[in-house]
Structures are given as C-alpha cells and as structure tokens.
C-alpha cells in the first residue's frame, strides 16, 4: 500500500511539472504581449513595465524564476488588475467556487449513486426507464443550455429562484442544479451499469446458493464491487465540475475563480490565466491522488498487488 501511494505521488509531481512547464511555454508563445491591444504606449514606459515584470530577461531565466515562485506558492501579480496578485484573486474567488463545486459534487453523489443502484436492482422497472431516459437527454445538452433553461424557466418565468449572484440560498439553487446535472446523470449511468454487471457475476450466484438474503447480497457483495469504478471516477468527475464552473459562474454572474479565469482569457491577462491553470492543475492532481488512495482502500487487489 505504501509503495503504491509513493509511486502515485511521484507520478503526480511529474504531472504537475509538465503542467507548469507546458502552460508557461504556451503563454510565452501567445501572439501579442499583454499590452498589445492598449493604445500606443511610449517606449520608455513600456520598457519599464517589461523590466518590472521581468519580461526582458532571457526565456530560461524567466522559466526558472517562475518555477521557483510556484514552489513557494507565489503565482505573481496580475497584469491587468492593478495591485492585485493572482494569489489574492484566487483567495477571493476560490471559497465561492469551492462551495458551489462541493455542493454539486455532493448532490451528484447522493442523488446519482442511489438512483443508479435502485435502477439496477429494479432493472427495466419504471424508475430504471425514467432515470435512463433523463440521463440520456441531460447528457446530450451542453451545460450552458441547461443553465439557461433553468434560468429562463425557474427564475425569469416562474420567479422561483434568483437568476444571478451568490450568497443567499435562493441564489445557490439554480447554479448548483445546472452544474451538477451532467455529473449526476453520468454517475447514475455509471453506477447502474456497474451494478448490472456485478449482478451477473459468479460470486453473486455463489452467495445466493448459500441462502443469503437478497438485501445482504446487495449490501455486502454487490455494492462493494460495483462502487469501485464509481470511486475511481471521482477524479475525472471533479475535473468536469471544475470546467463546468467556467460556464455556470459566467451565466449566473457568480464571482468565483471560474468566471475570473474566463475573463482573464478575453482580457489577455496572462499571469492570471497562467497562475490559475497551475492552480487548477494542483487541485486536479490532488483529487486524482485522493481518488487513487480511495480505490486502493476499497479494492484489495490493487492494494496488495503493488506490494513488493
């Protein structure tokens, strides 16, 4: 187990390094500096700014400088928003995004998984068919469609919830619903098909032949095995929620880092884009690691196979 975790951590560090490096070089390759679209700036002022942001140093030096800063969690200042560092930006927006994202994940898990299990147990029953149909349609609609539909019908037309902003519970309902729709449908489908696969396994037949009651079989035999792929998928799930937040936060005018990220791209505020990408990378890598550890905890084959 220890060796497995150790290998995963090393892999994650390599991934992080790749992320940081790739992002850095991509940003440097972007056409037009951050001030390209400004009206003509006098040469000397331009030179000063460049010196301040160290843009006049050779590329390799800039790179190692940046690497050093990242390791110390210093993601640099924003080009556009005067006086604000990327760290501060993240500090302001992250708690909001985390709440939204966290809520969405919880809803997806606690609604999607049980429905998936129930649908599989009562295969081809009413719940199974409805849930599957719902999942198919939800999966076919891009998140902004769902978000807008919710906004239009539930906020504008029927005035049940607030359409924008963040802070009060009424404002939180629609964005959470919109954000979790895709992952909820996906988790439900995954759980359902995993359970269906487990039901036809030989060891379930053995348990039935032993006279074990059906509920005990579901709980002790089926769930443990069926949930393994679900747990393993938590990392990509979080990634999906993260990228989904870009759109949802923009549509619902929520001041989170998703919206900041989108704005930084259109503003060509490169340090912010760069810094946030690195931050997202760290976040996702962390979640992947947690997912791997959880999988090892639940599946003894993974855990013991990796031992020396």
């Amino acid at each position: 187990m220890a060796r497995y975790i150790f290998t995963r951590i090393i892999t994650m560090i390599v991934v992080l390094w790749v992320i940081i490096t790739a992002t850095f070089f991509m940003m440097k390759a972007l056409p037009g500096g951050p001030f390209a679209s400004e009206k003509k700036i006098p040469e000397t002022i331009l030179r000063n700014i460049e010196r301040r942001y160290k843009l006049d140093r050779p590329l390799s030096e800039q790179y190692f400088d940046y690497l050093k800063n990242v390791v110390q969690f210093d993601l640099g200042p924003s080009f556009r928003l005067q006086g604000l560092t990327v760290n501060q930006l993240i500090g302001k927006g992250f708690p909001i995004s985390a709440t939204l994202g966290g809520l969405s994940i919880l809803v997806s898990l606690f609604v999607g998984v049980p429905i998936g299990i129930w649908a599989a147990i009562r295969h081809n029953g009413v719940l199974d068919r409805t849930a599957s149909a719902f999942a198919v349609i939800t999966a076919a609609a891009p998140s902004f469609v769902i978000a807008s539909a919710l906004q239009y019908f539930l906020a504008y037309k029927f005035k049940m919830f607030k359409a924008a902003g963040w802070g009060s519970p009424e404002q939180m309902v629609l964005p959470t619903l919109a954000l979790c729709s895709f992952s909820l449908a996906w988790l439900m489908k995954l759980t359902r098909s995993s359970m269906l696969e487990v039901t036809s396994q030989d060891y379930v037949r053995t348990a039935r032949a032993k006279g074990i009651p059906e509920m005990a079989i579901v709980w002790r035999h089926m769930l443990r095995n069926a949930l393994i792929p679900v747990i393993a998928s938590l990392a990509p799930l979080t990634a999906g929620i993260l990228t989904g937040s870009f759109i949802i936060e923009s549509i619902f005018a929520i001041p989170g880092i998703g919206r900041d990220f989108v704005q930084s791209i259109s503003n060509r505020d490169y340090t912010v884009t760069l810094g946030m990408t690195v931050f997202f990378g760290i976040l996702l890598v962390g979640f992947t690691l947690i997912g791997d550890i959880c999988t090892a905890l639940v599946d003894p084959r993974v855990r013991l196979d990796k031992e020396g």
Binding site: V15, M27, L30, A140, V145, S148, Q151, T243, S250, V285
Partner: protein, 305 residues
Amino acid sequence: MAAPVDSRFAPLGNRQATAERITTPPISFAKDAWRRFQTNKVAVFGLIMLLILLLASVFGPMFTKHTYSDQSILLANQGPSGEYWLGTDKLGRDLFVRILFGGRISLAVALFAGLVELVIGVVYGAVAGLAGGRIDNLMMRIVDIVDTIPSTIYVILLAVLLKPGLTSIFLAIGIIYWTGMARLVRAQVLSLKQQEFMLAARTLGAGKARLVFRHLIPNAMAPIIVELTFSIPRAIFTEAFLSFIGLGVSAPMASWGVLANDGLIALRTYPWQLAFPSIAIIMCTLAFNFVGDGLRDALDPKLRK
C-alpha cells in the same frame, strides 16, 4: 413364424451426409452487423436523424431564400413567422438558415477533430501495442500523464495560441483528446496480437504487412468506429464551450456554439434565439449517441446470432 414387421421400427439408415451439415448459411461479419443494427429501432431512428441533419446542413443553405449573412436591421429580433421560419437575430439575419449553416461548421469541426484524434490515437496506440515491452510501458505512462492534465483548459490555451479560426479549433480539440482512442487501439492491438487467428495466419505464411492490414485492422475497426461516433458530440460540445469563451469562429460565420452564445445574451427577451440552436445541438448529440450505442451492440462479435 416370423413376427410382422412393424414399419415404425424400420431403420432410417445411414444419414452421415446430413449429420455434418452446417445449418445456418454463412454471412459476412459486416452484413450480419448491419442486420443486427437494423433491429435496434432507437439506433435506426438516430441514423435517420443524423442523415436528415447532415443533408439539411450541407444542402439546405443552397435552397433558402436568405443567406446566412443577409441582414435586415429593421426586422431584427423577430419571432418565428412564415417568412423567417425560426425568427431573426439581433442583426435581422434569418435564424433558420444560420442554424443550417451552423450545422455545416459544427459538424465539420467535429468530424475533423475526430479525424485528428483518430490519426494520432491510432498511430500512437498501434505503435505502443505492437512494440510492447518497455516502449509500450513508457508510452502508456505518458498517456497517463496527459490524461491527468485538465484537457479542457489546454484546449482553451491551444485555441488561443493558434491563429483564431476554424482550423485551430479542430486542431486544438484533436490534439488534446486523442488519449482515449490511443488506449483503445493499443488494447485492441495487444489482445489481437496474441489471438490464435494471428498465429494461424503466420503459420500459413502471412507476412507482417498482410497481418496488419488484412487481419489486425479489420478486427480492430469496430471499437474504433464506436469511439469515433462518441467523440464527435464531445467535439461539438467543446466547440460550443470555446465559442462561449469567445474563441469560436468569427462573424458573420457561425457555428451552433456561436449562435447559442449570441442567443444567451438575449435570453430574457428573445429566448428562442438560444432555444433553436440548443435544440439543434441536442438533437445532433442524441442522434450520434443512439447510433454509437447501436453500432457498439451490432459490432460486438460475441453477440453474433
């Protein structure tokens, strides 16, 4: 006295010839798969929808009264009417023909992105699978690393990096999303490499090229086609996402993503401007998903009847 011979007990004689007869006529794999596909009503429905969408997008704009860029400012933001079937947008352009045209763009982007994924993924996966051993290991580690990277973010960055426009979008999507195809192809190659029919073919004297083209690839095609069918809607989504962020194609050309984005701004007052492109996207995605599921079931050799 001999007992009367009961005709019931007259022997049937030697039926060796008929005993070894194979009862079902041989059908080629492709025909059998097509037959099975046809029995799946949902899949057939999806296929029909797909064909309609394709034909409408490709040929539709040639037959409409208005072109996608004709503006009539005075008639802006109108609802559906006899003249403008799906209404007009903020510049008075006919939404119907714009959606048809958008179909061309979105589908083209998705198709080309899929092809890029296919080429990179198939080459990478086939090399890894055929090489085996440490090279395979190394290549898979790389795939693992690429997978962990948040792809959408990199699609965005790449799209910003490359010159804005159609080509950069599908290149960006294809370059980032190939890993799924690579894994698939590698798994296929690995399992097929060891299967006995490959060994049998080699014993019969087949050379390496013949092995690859006549045996390996046809058997690997099925999951590749299925994966391609699913990667197309994903590309459409990603393209819509990029348009949302402002990285889509430039006006007056419009993909469904751009149309949806434009419609989003006017959601409160003119909701149909978002609704119609959204419906187009949903229908297209559903169609591809249905067809993909149907193909997956139809091409599974274990289900052959």
